[in-house]
Structure formats: structure tokens, C-alpha cells
Amino acid sequence: MTTTDPATRTSEPAATPPSGGPTGMAWVRENLFPDVWNSLLTLTLGPLLAWGVYALGRFLFVTGRWEIITVNLTTLMVGRFPRDQLFRLWIAIAILAVVIGLALGVANSVARAAAVESGDDYHRPWHEPIRRFGPPVTLLIVMGVFVRTATPLLLLAAALGLAAVAYRLGRMIPIRRRGQVNLVVILGVIGAQLAITGFDGVPRSVWGGLLLTIYFTVGALLFAFPLGVAVALGRRSSLPVVRGTCMVYIEFFRGMPLVVLLFTGWLVLPFFLPPQFPTPDIVTRAMVILVLFTSAYVAEIVRGGLQGLPRGQREAAQALGLSPWKQTRLIILPQALRSVIPALVGQAISLFKDTTLVLAVGLTELLQVARIIPGQEDFRGQGLFAETLIFVSLIYWVGSYWMSRESQRLEAKLGVGER
């Protein structure tokens, strides 16, 4: 199983393999049977690997009883979301498709402009989109296998079409209007949520499945990252009160298991809120806890980045006569954040998987659905846990892998570790 390290591949495009490398048998001899010990290793591990692949393939395609996924696909996606209100979800997806398409379009034209300015020849290798979008597309295909009617597929295709149109539009928007586009994106995200909950809609307490998982991941990331950066800066402040509180904050939330925090927010909070004060609903509380917890970790990661910067950077910025805020925003943060991208993405991936813990506070996220459905009348007592767990693992894996790929792309683009 020889794989080229993707990181080296992307960051060093010059290192293309020489054409006409070893062919067929020569490759096998060179890589699998170069000497006695390696031959032995190949002969031992080869059959084991083959058997593993065979067993997995046999389960996936022959013995696995996948009807439970087919029947419950909607439940896995949205939990107990009322089925007659699903159109709201599609409206939200359409809104998100448009704003994400717009944002990507603008980002693309910015990247182009930057490339033109620096004199680089900006072009993408033809296989980049495949590598970027391969995992999510694979997931979509898998879901397509389980879908019973064509409607969701058609609607999804329509949403992708909308995104493509918006992408084209986004590329036409002049770069100086970026600020307005950011505003549109924020409004779009709010609008998407309103489309589901507003206008006599579906309260978040009945959301479930993948919808809830994505909602928690994206929502917590959006709030935790800025908060984490602010706390990291506060932790390095020269003002003792600020530094002290930031330290207490970080140590407090890092020192508590997430489950304990979730339970506290869920069961203990009502005890000390005044009775007249309406307790926020459980989804809000879980979201706040996830944000507080994640931001403490983000703060420490960002602090690492800040400490890694040579002091000369700040001094140079001061010498230029920049205000303290501009020093931080233009000189310090961009460099500090760039150097900690891998750790930040690691935190994002870990948050994505940590959202499974909200099942402890009575929310039916993706994993909980997978645990419940084998108890249904049609599937009871048949031990279908393997099928449901494999299916949700695939979703978690695709999400995590996709995030890690995007981070590698970002690192390559920003030249992490090269300058």
C-alpha cells in the first residue's frame, strides 16, 4: 500500500515523477519483494489484507442488510423533524447554496487577482476539484443508493445548480464589494435558520440527525474561533485583570470534561436562573457550551501561534507607526493564525466528532439516531447495529477527511512551513 504523501504532493508541484518509471513486474519486485524479510512481510500481510478487504466487501455488498438505512434515511438526516415541514429545509439549503456559491466565487476572483498581482501564473491542476470534492461526492453517491424517490436527488441537483450560478455571479462581483458580500453571506446564514424556525416553523428542539450535527459544528465553529482569538489576545495582555480572567476562562473550560459541561448547562442552569427568566432552550444551551469549550482550546492554540512569532514583527509594525489594533490585525494575527492552521483544523474536526456528546442531554443527533433505529418494529432483535454504525461512521469520516483536505489546500496556498 504505497501512497504518496498528499502534503508533499501539493506543496511541491515541481517534484513530478520522472516519466517512464518502473513498470509492472519491475515495480512489484522493487517494492514488494526486494529482500527476504520484505518478501516474508508481503506474504504474511498480503493475504491478511486481502482477507480484510474481502470480508468488508462481502459485508458491504452481500451479507449487510441495508434496508434499515433505506427506510430510515430521512430519520438519519433530520431525526424527528416533521416530514410535512421538510420543504423549509430545502428552502434553507437553497439559500445556503446561493450564499456559499457567491462567497466561493468572490474568494476565487480574489485569489486570481492576487495571483495576477504577484505575477504568478494562476491555474488549477485539472484534478484538483476531484480531490477536493471527491469525498463529499462519494457520500452523495452512497446516499443516492439509499434514496427511495428521486425528489431529494433532483432538489439537491437544483441546489448545486443554484450554487454554480451564484459562483459565476460571485466571480463577476468587483473585489472592492467584498464587504457587502460578507454581509450577504451572514444574512443568508441567518435567513436559512429563519426559514426553518421562523414563520410558525420547526423549533430546534425537534431537529435531529445529520442536520443537528452540522448545525452544532458550523454554529460552534463560527462563534468559537473569534472568541478563542480574543481570549488568546487577552491572555497575552499586559493588563493583569484581563490576563487573569482569560486564564481563568481557559483553565476552567479546558479543565472540565465536555459531558460535564453539557450536563451542567442542561440540568443545573435552571436551578440558578431566576424563575421569571425564561431558560434558553436546550439547543441554545448546548451550543453555548460547545462554543465556550472549543474557544478555550482555540485560545491556547492561537496563543501558541502568537508566541512563535519573533518579537521583531511587533517592533517593525510599531516602527511603521501602526496603531496597536492595526499591528495586531495586519501584522501579528495573520502570521500567528497561519502557523497554527493544522492545530485549528484538528480542533474543528474534534468539535465535529464531539457533537455526538449532545446525545447525553436528550438531543437526537446522528449517532443517537443510529442507536435508536435498530429497535424499530421491523428490525428489532436482528442486531443491525453494524449497518447503522458503518453508515454514520462514513458520514463522520467524510466530514473529517474533507476538513483535513481543505486545510492542506489552505496550508499549501499560504505556504505554511515554507516561509
Binding site: T75, F252, W266, L267, P274, P324, R380
Partner: protein
């Protein structure tokens, strides 16, 4: 009980500190100066801050005491709160077939779910005005005490500890269950006394495990417990001969037996009942008006069956009942101008039965012979049919 409020106060303080710190941090982030030279005096000032924190603590402590007393005895019954809110929040189980489960269409279904809907029908007049919160066995009573749920309808056994220390107040049982023992039909075991030295499969962390221990000890039998997290893995172990007996609630055993891979006759449930398991709704202690409302909703479903009132004929009966000839029925249907003072609408029983059904209907729909569980009424029949349901008169 005592330690919990203190813990809250401490948490509250820290939260306040943190929140205040955050606001400051955000405001001052702009001025963040990374020069390390000022660090040393900073540490001292940091320490000097501490008295400040303590003063804050004192004030918070008093506030905390007020807040803590308020939810339990604020004079206002939960009944009014629920009616104002327009929804009943029920703590339920989302993974027990027949009692509470998410269906393929994303609905919640089950015996317990129906009783939650019945409470909503009685109190609010709309069986759909429910909010169902799935709870784990460990979290259920904490959720009830914290006011996170209004009523716990989660196949919960009524025990002294739960009625007392855990702060629950139970209504009449909705379902009489009991722990039983299932063995392979060809094992030659006909009584628990035959099970000396046997390996017994049991779910971990349940009262079932404890009851088994008590029962075997009282019979002077030695045994080996094999514990599992869920019924599916337990079943695989049972089929693989890893244990001789399988103990669980008899309702669950009946369901498992009816869907047993080798056919229901390959296993048998012993006649002995190891423990009594009266399952029923519970509310928070100290709110008798709300307890009455929930209790009489349960009773109304049973009286409905007693009077032969079901969802198909209830509306006709309301029209046709003669107050003089059938005064009891007329009172029950709320057409006799009789208000028992429960704080419920006069026609609450009609709402319950027309929207959800009487006890027999709820039973048949969720756990009866035509369902996957295939349970007979047995002890869950009315007293007139030889069962244990003896509803107080209306």
C-alpha cells in the same frame, strides 16, 4: 440534595467571572500589548484581585438562595405554567419498543408517548401540544427536579427511593410489569431453583441486575452474571450459549420471545416473577395540583374502559347521555355541570379519550397482541377482568 445547590452557586460565580472577563477581554483586545516587561508587577496585582472576587461571592450566595427556593414552592402550580405555555414537556424513552421509539417516519410512538399525549389533551385540550425529550435512565430524575421536564413518562418503576430521596411523585401505575427469567426450551430448567451455578445474561446498570442478585441470594443459589449494554448484543450471547438464562422485564422478554430467530417455542419464560415493577408517570414532589392533574388523566383512561367509552363512541355519548339515568357517566363526560376542582377543564376526560383513547385502546395499539410485543392484558386488565387496575371513582 444539599451539595447540589452549592455547586450551582460556585458554578454561577465562575460563570459570572468568566463572562465579565470576556467582555473586558474583548474590549481590551485592541490595546493588547505583548511586551513582556510589565509582566512581573502584573502578577502581584492579580493576587490583589482576589478579595474582590470574595466580596462578589458573598452577594451571589444570597441571591442564589432565593433563586434556589423559587422553582419548587413559588405557590404557582406547574399546571398553570403548562397551560400558559401551551405545551407539556415530557421526559421519555426513545429506544424501548412499544413504550417509546422513533419510527421510520420520524414520529415518536409508544405506550408512554400516548400517556404524555393524554396529559396534553387533558390539560391543554390538544394531544399534539407535547414536547418530548428523550432521557437516559441516569438523567431522568435530575431532569425532573431541575424543571427541565414537566412529567417523566419513561417506563419508570415506582420505588421508595424514587418517591422519597429522588424527589419524584408517582401517579397510579400505567403498566404492571415484573422481572422474569427466560431459558431455552430444551434446557430442562422449569424453575429458578434449577439454576444452581448457571450463567445468567442481564443488562448492566438496571434494577434488574440488583433484583437478580437479591433473588438468587434469597434462594441460596450461586450464579454467574454476564452483563451487556443492550438487548441485541445480549441476544447474540444468549443464542451463542454463553448463558443459560436471560432475565429482564417480562414485557421485554415476551417481545424478545415473539421475535426470537429460532421461533418463539425454542425459548420459554419461567412462571416465577422475580420482582414487582409498577411503571407509571412521575412528577416533581411538592406540587399536588399538578400531580392530581396527571394522576386523573391516567385514571380517566381506565374509567373510560370501565364505562365502555372509547374514541369511537365518546362524542356520540356526550350528545346522548342522560344525566338522570347515568349520572356517573354524565359527570365523567363533563355534561352534568360537575367540577371536581382538579383545575382541569370540565370535558378533560372527553378530550383524552377522543384524541388518544381509553386504556384498552392505548394498550392494544402499542403493546397488545397485534403488535410486535404481543402482550396479553393479564395483570394490566381492569379489576373486573381479573387485573390490577382499580380506578378510583370519578
Amino acid at each position: 440534595m444539599k451539595t447540589i445547590p452549592n455547586a450551582h452557586k460556585r458554578r454561577w460565580r465562575s460563570m459570572r467571572l468568566v463572562a465579565g472577563g470576556l467582555v473586558l477581554a474583548l474590549a481590551l483586545a485592541a490595546c493588547a500589548d505583548e511586551d513582556a516587561e510589565v509582566d512581573d508587577p502584573g502578577t502581584d496585582i492579580d493576587d490583589a484581585d482576589d478579595p474582590d472576587v470574595d466580596i462578589d461571592d458573598g452577594v451571589e450566595g444570597e441571591e442564589g438562595d432565593d433563586g434556589e427556593a423559587a422553582p419548587a414552592d413559588s405557590g404557582d402550580s406547574l399546571l398553570n405554567t403548562v397551560q400558559d405555555r401551551g405545551a407539556v414537556v415530557c421526559g421519555v424513552n426513545d429506544a424501548v419498543p412499544g413504550f417509546g421509539l422513533t419510527t421510520e417516519d420520524g414520529d415518536f410512538e409508544g405506550f408512554d408517548i400516548d400517556f404524555c399525549r393524554a396529559i396534553a389533551a387533558a390539560v391543554i385540550g390538544d394531544a399534539d401540544a407535547v414536547e418530548l425529550i428523550p432521557l437516559t435512565a441516569e438523567a431522568r430524575f435530575t431532569a425532573l427536579q431541575s424543571g427541565e421536564i414537566d412529567v417523566l413518562v419513561r417506563n419508570t418503576t415506582w420505588t421508595a427511593a424514587r418517591d422519597g430521596g429522588e424527589g419524584g411523585a408517582f401517579t397510579l401505575p400505567t403498566f404492571y410489569d415484573g422481572q422474569g427469567m427466560m431459558v431455552r426450551a430444551d434446557s430442562g430448567i422449569s424453575s429458578i431453583d434449577d439454576m444452581e451455578g448457571a450463567a445468567i445474561c442481564v443488562l448492566s446498570g438496571t434494577t434488574t441486575e440488583l433484583n437478580l442478585e437479591t433473588e438468587m441470594a434469597s434462594r441460596g443459589l450461586s450464579y454467574e452474571a454476564a452483563t451487556f449494554e443492550d438487548n441485541d448484543t445480549l441476544q447474540e450471547a444468549f443464542i451463542a450459549d454463553r448463558c443459560d438464562g436471560w432475565t429482564s422485564d417480562r414485557s421485554q422478554l415476551a417481545a424478545i420471545r415473539s421475535a426470537f430467530p429460532d421461533g418463539p417455542d425454542s425459548v420459554s419464560v419461567l412462571d416465577e416473577v422475580i420482582s414487582k415493577e409498577p411503571l407509571g408517570p412521575a412528577v416533581r414532589d411538592g406540587d399536588s395540583q399538578w400531580l392530581d392533574a396527571v394522576n386523573w388523566t391516567v385514571i380517566a383512561t381506565m374509567i373510560g374502559e370501565e364505562f365502555g367509552v372509547d374514541s369511537s363512541n365518546v362524542n356520540d355519548l356526550v350528545e346522548s347521555v342522560d344525566v338522570d339515568e347515568q349520572p356517573a357517566l354524565a359527570r365523567f363526560l363533563g355534561v352534568a355541570g360537575f367540577d371536581p376542582g382538579l383545575g382541569l377543564p370540565e370535558d378533560f376526560a372527553v378530550q383524552v379519550i377522543s384524541q388518544v383513547g381509553n386504556y384498552a385502546e392505548i394498550f392494544e395499539r402499542n403493546v397488545g397482541p397485534d403488535t410486535g410485543l404481543g402482550l396479553e392484558r393479564e395483570q394490566n386488565a381492569l379489576y373486573t377482568d381479573g387485573g390490577l387496575h382499580y380506578p378510583p371513582p370519578y
